[in-house]
C-alpha cells in the first residue's frame, strides 16, 4: 500500500499518534495499531465508514477515551490525555456531531459557559461576553449573532458557535466530527471558507467525514480507516476518488451465505414518492420509490446518515413523512398506530434494541409476549393460559437458541447477541408478511449473527418479504437478493442481483461518485 510522499520528518508534526490500539472490555477492537499524524497548519481528513474506528481515534486524541496500547505525542511532548480538560489545556478542541449547546441561552452565554466574565463580583458581565464573542467571530471570520438564542439560530451558525467555543478556550488543533452532516450545501460552502481562513492563520484541522467531494475540495492530506486499521495516509492531490473509494469500502473477508436463489412473487410493500424533512429542515428522504416482494430480501445499503433510518422510521410510524405513500398488501401504513401496523403483518427489528426492542427489567417470556398478549391462544377468558405461554416461550427459546438460565431470566442479564435473539424470536414468529430489519446484527457475537442471518433467509424463502437495512457491507451484499443504495436521501442505484456486485462498484454508488439513470433505478418498482 503506498505510504507515499505524504510521510515527512518527525519534527514537522504537531500531533503524532503511533501504534494506537483500543480494545473495549467486551472484546471489540475499535482501533488496531493505527498511526496518525498531523502537520501544523494543514486540513487533514480522517475518512472511513461508520464503525471504521475514526471516531474512536479522535475521542482518544480529545481525552474522552484512553488507548489500550500506543502513544500520543503533542508538539514533541509525549502525553497521556486522561480527560478532555487535559486535551483542552494542550490546545486541542473538538466540535462534536451532536452540539453541546444550551438552547435557551444566547450565543454569547454559551460561549463563556464555565469561564464566564464577572463584574462587581457576582454578576455576569453580559457586555463582556458579547464583546469576547464579537472579537473572536471577527478574528476568525465566523459570523454569529451574540445576542441570539441558540434555539433560534440556524444549524450552520450553531456549528460556528461550537468552533468558536473551542477557539476561545485556546484550541490550536480543531477536530471536527462529521461537520457537514447537518448542513445545507450553502452552509457547507461557508464552513469551508472559514476553515481555509483558519488554516491560513496557522490552525490545524482534522476533518472526520466520508463525503468524498468535500474532502477533495479542501483537505491537504487524508487518512483512510477501515475495520479499525489505517489504510494509509495520502496527499489529497495524489489520489483519485475511485482509489479512495476502493480503500474505504471493501471487505477483508467476504462472507458467503448459503442460500437458494430467490423466486420473488407478488409485491408486499409498495413505496412511492416518499419524502421526509427533518427538524433542521434537511430533506432526508427525496422521492423514494421501491417495491419489496414476497420471497425476496431487498437490502438498503449506504453510508449511515443518507436517509436509511428515516425510511424505516417512516414505515413504522416513528416519524411523519411530508409526502408520498407506503402500502402493505394494498393497505396504506403511513400514520397508522404501531398496533395497527403490526395487525397488518409488519414486524420491525429496531436499530435501538435497548430502547424499543426489549423491556430490560422484564423476563424473556414477558418480552416475547409483548406483541401478542391479547391473542386467543394465550388467553382463557380473562386470565392468561400460562401453560400455553410457557410452552410458546420455551419453544421460541429453543428455536432461537437463546442462551439463558430460564424463561424467567431478565433480558438485561443476557449477552448482546442473546438479547437480539429474543427480539427476533418475537418479531419473526408472529406470522409477519413483511419484516423490517434495521441493523439486525450490529454489535453482537458471531454465533448470534450467523443464526439471525440464516433465519432471515429461511423466512424469506418461505414467502415473507424482507427489507434489510444494514451498514455492514458483508451483510447487505451477501444476505440481500437485490439491493438499493441510498445517497443523500435518494436511491442512487438498484441492483437486481447482488451476486455479481463488487466492493468497488458499491463504493462508487455509496459515496456518490456514480448514480444510475432514473430508468435503472425505476426497475425496483415492479408494477
Amino acid at each position: 500500500m503506498p505510504e507515499g510522499k505524504a510521510a515527512a520528518a518527525d519534527e514537522e508534526y504537531v500531533v503524532q499518534m503511533k501504534g494506537i490500539t483500543k480494545v473495549y472490555p467486551n472484546g471489540v477492537a475499535a482501533n488496531q495499531k493505527v498511526d496518525f499524524c498531523l502537520r501544523k497548519g494543514e486540513i487533514h481528513a480522517l475518512m472511513g465508514e461508520n464503525g471504521a474506528g475514526k471516531s474512536t481515534l479522535m475521542k482518544m486524541l480529545f481525552g474522552l477515551e484512553q488507548p489500550t496500547e500506543g502513544e500520543i505525542t503533542i508538539r514533541g511532548e509525549k502525553l497521556s490525555l486522561s480527560s478532555p480538560s487535559v486535551a483542552i489545556a494542550h490546545g486541542i478542541g473538538m466540535v462534536h456531531q451532536h452540539f453541546m449547546l444550551v438552547p435557551s441561552l444566547t450565543v454569547a452565554e454559551n460561549m463563556v459557559l464555565g469561564m464566564a466574565p464577572r463584574k462587581s463580583g457576582l454578576f455576569l458581565d453580559h457586555a463582556k461576553a458579547v464583546e469576547i464573542t464579537k472579537q473572536y467571530a471577527e478574528k476568525y471570520n465566523l459570523h454569529v449573532e451574540p445576542e441570539a438564542k441558540v434555539m433560534d439560530i440556524p444549524v450552520g451558525m450553531k456549528q460556528k458557535v461550537e468552533i468558536l467555543k473551542a477557539l476561545v478556550r485556546g484550541a490550536q488543533i480543531l477536530i471536527l466530527d462529521e461537520p457537514t452532516a447537518v448542513l445545507t450545501t450553502q452552509e457547507t460552502a461557508e464552513l469551508f471558507k472559514e476553515l481555509i481562513h483558519l488554516k491560513e492563520q496557522g490552525y490545524t484541522i482534522v476533518f472526520i467525514s466520508h463525503k468524498l467531494n468535500e474532502i477533495m475540495q479542501i483537505t491537504d492530506r487524508l487518512t483512510i480507516m477501515r475495520g479499525g486499521r489505517s489504510m494509509g495516509v495520502y496527499n489529497t492531490c495524489d489520489v483519485t476518488m475511485e482509489e479512495i473509494s476502493r480503500l474505504m469500502v471493501g471487505r477483508d473477508v467476504v462472507l458467503n451465505v448459503q442460500k437458494d436463489k430467490a423466486v420473488p412473487t407478488d409485491t408486499v410493500l409498495r413505496v412511492r414518492g416518499l419524502e421526509y424533512v427533518n427538524e433542521w429542515n434537511k430533506k432526508m428522504l427525496d422521492r423514494v420509490s421501491f417495491d419489496v416482494r414476497k420471497g425476496e430480501i431487498l437490502g438498503v445499503a449506504g453510508v449511515e446518515g443518507n436517509g436509511q433510518k428515516e425510511l424505516v422510521d417512516a414505515l413504522f410510524h416513528f416519524n411523519t413523512p411530508s409526502a408520498g405513500t407506503a402500502a402493505v398488501n394494498g393497505v396504506s401504513i403511513l400514520g397508522l398506530s404501531q398496533q395497527r401496523i403490526r395487525e397488518l403483518g409488519v414486524s420491525l427489528v429496531p436499530e435501538d434494541r435497548m430502547l424499543f426492542g426489549i423491556a430490560g427489567a422484564a423476563s424473556i417470556e414477558e418480552n416475547v409476549l409483548s406483541d401478542r398478549s391479547a391473542d386467543k391462544r394465550f388467553n382463557r377468558g380473562p386470565l392468561f393460559n400460562m401453560k400455553a405461554i410457557h410452552a410458546e416461550s420455551d419453544r421460541l427459546i429453543e428455536e432461537y437458541a437463546v442462551l439463558c438460565k430460564s424463561r424467567r431470566q431478565h433480558v438485561s442479564m443476557l449477552s448482546g447477541g442473546n438479547i437480539q435473539k429474543v427480539v427476533v424470536a418475537r418479531e419473526f414468529s408472529n406470522d409477519p408478511v413483511l419484516i423490517l430489519a434495521d441493523q439486525p446484527t450490529r454489535g453482537i457475537d458471531v454465533g448470534a449473527t450467523e443464526f439471525i442471518r440464516k433465519k432471515l433467509v429461511e423466512l424469506s424463502r418461505s414467502g415473507i418479504a424482507v427489507l434489510l437495512v444494514s451498514a455492514d457491507l458483508n451483510e447487505v451484499m451477501e444476505l440481500s437478493d437485490s439491493l438499493i443504495v441510498m445517497h443523500n436521501g435518494k436511491i442512487a442505484a438498484y441492483f437486481e442481483d447482488t451476486a455479481a456486485l463488487t466492493d468497488d462498484v458499491m463504493g462508487e454508488y455509496m459515496l456518490g461518485l456514480k448514480e444510475q439513470s432514473a430508468d435503472e433505478i425505476g426497475r425496483v418498482c415492479h408494477d
Binding site: M100, V102, P103, L105, E109, L113, G114, L122, L124
Partner: protein
C-alpha cells in the same frame, strides 16, 4: 350581587390577596429554581411544615423573631441538602424523596412539637399557638409615605416584613437566574447537563445549590405561616401550599414573573373563598376553591400550550 362586588373592591381585600399569596410565592420560587436545574421538588410541602415549626419554636426559646426566622431558614436549607443527598448520591427517585419528606412532615412535626414542649414546658402541646405572642412574630411594616395614599395605602402598607420580602426575592431570583454566572450554570445544567459538564461545570454541585435554594425558599414560606399568617404553629397549617406551588410553577411557564402572577391568582382564589364564607358561605365550600382553581389553571395552561405548539408547527411548515 352588586353588594358582593362592593365587598371585594376594598383595600382590605387586595391587602389580603397579597398577604395570602406571599407564602405560595415563596414555595413557587423554590419550585422554579429546581425546575430550571432540571428536576422537580415535591417535598416543598414537607419542608414548609418543618420550617414553620422550627421558626416558631426558635422564636419562642430565644425570644427573638429574627432568630426564629433564621432557624426556619436553616431548617429549610438543611432539609433541602438532605433531600439532595438521597436523590443525587443514594439515587432515590427524587419524587419518592419528596413523598417521604411530606409523609414525615405531617405527623413528624406534631411529634417534635409535643416532645419539645413536654421537655421544656412540662406538658406536651399540640401546637405552639399558646406560646407565641405577637412580639415573637414577624413584624408588620408601615411604609411612611405610601400608607397615606388613599386606597393604595391600605393595599400596600402594613404588610408583614416577609410579604415584602417575598416579592423582593421574586425579583432577586430572576436576577440570579438571568444576570449571574450561577444562574447561567443552573439553566445550562437543567437544559443540557452534557454541555455543562463538557465545559467544566459541576452538575452535582449546581443541583445541590438549586435544591438547597428551594429549601431556603420553603423555609421562608414556612416561617411566614407560623410567624405571620398565623400566630404560632399548628398541625397541617401549610394545607397543600407546597403542592399548589408546583402548579403555579407550571402555569407561570417556569419563570419568576409568571410564577408570581400564578401565586396571585391562587391568593385571589383563597381570599375570595374567605370572603364568601364571611358573607355566609360554608367554609367547607370556600376552602376547596384554591385547589379547584389549581386544577382548572393547569388545564387552561395545558390547552393554551397545545394550541400554541400547533400554531408554531403550522407556521414552521410554511
Amino acid at each position: 350581587m352588586l353588594n358582593f362586588l362592593k365587598l371585594l373592591l376594598t383595600p382590605e381585600f387586595f391587602f389580603s390577596i397579597l398577604r395570602i399569596s406571599a407564602p405560595i410565592l415563596f414555595a413557587t420560587l423554590g419550585a422554579i429554581i429546581v425546575e430550571k436545574a432540571g428536576f422537580c421538588n415535591i417535598g416543598l410541602e414537607g419542608i414548609m411544615m418543618f420550617s414553620a415549626l422550627a421558626g416558631s419554636m426558635v422564636s419562642y426559646y430565644t425570644g427573638s423573631w429574627l432568630l426564629g426566622l433564621l432557624g426556619a431558614l436553616l431548617m429549610g436549607t438543611l432539609l433541602g441538602f438532605v433531600m439532595g443527598f438521597f436523590a443525587f448520591q443514594l439515587k432515590t427517585d427524587i419524587t419518592l424523596v419528596g413523598i417521604a419528606v411530606n409523609m414525615m412532615g405531617s405527623g413528624g412535626t406534631l411529634f417534635l412539637c409535643k416532645v419539645i414542649t413536654n421537655l421544656t414546658e412540662g406538658k406536651a402541646m399540640a401546637s405552639t399557638t399558646g406560646l407565641i405572642t405577637s412580639g415573637l412574630c414577624i413584624p408588620n411594616i408601615t411604609i411612611p409615605l405610601i400608607s397615606k395614599i388613599p386606597f393604595l395605602g391600605g393595599v400596600l402598607s402594613g404588610h408583614s416584613l416577609l410579604t415584602y420580602l417575598a416579592f423582593l426575592i421574586c425579583g432577586l431570583t430572576s436576577v440570579i437566574l438571568y444576570k449571574t454566572s450561577l444562574g447561567l450554570n443552573i439553566r445550562a445544567v437543567g437544559e443540557n447537563p452534557n454541555a455543562a459538564s463538557s465545559v467544566g461545570v459541576s452538575v452535582l454541585k449546581i443541583k445541590y445549590v438549586a435544591i438547597m435554594y428551594s429549601g431556603l425558599m420553603a423555609g421562608f414560606g414556612g416561617a411566614f405561616m407560623s410567624m405571620s399568617y398565623a400566630q404560632g404553629w399548628s398541625q397541617d397549617m401549610v394545607a397543600g401550599r407546597g403542592f399548589i406551588a408546583l402548579a403555579a410553577q407550571a402555569m407561570g411557564s417556569g419563570e419568576c414573573l409568571g410564577g408570581m402572577l400564578s401565586s396571585l391568582v391562587f391568593g385571589f382564589a383563597q381570599a375570595l373563598g374567605i370572603k364568601f364564607s364571611a358573607i355566609g358561605l360554608d367554609s367547607n365550600l370556600a376552602s376547596p376553591i384554591p385547589y379547584a382553581v389549581t386544577i382548572i389553571g393547569l388545564v387552561i395552561f395545558a390547552l393554551s400550550r397545545r394550541s400554541r405548539d400547533k400554531k408554531q408547527r403550522l407556521t414552521a411548515k410554511k
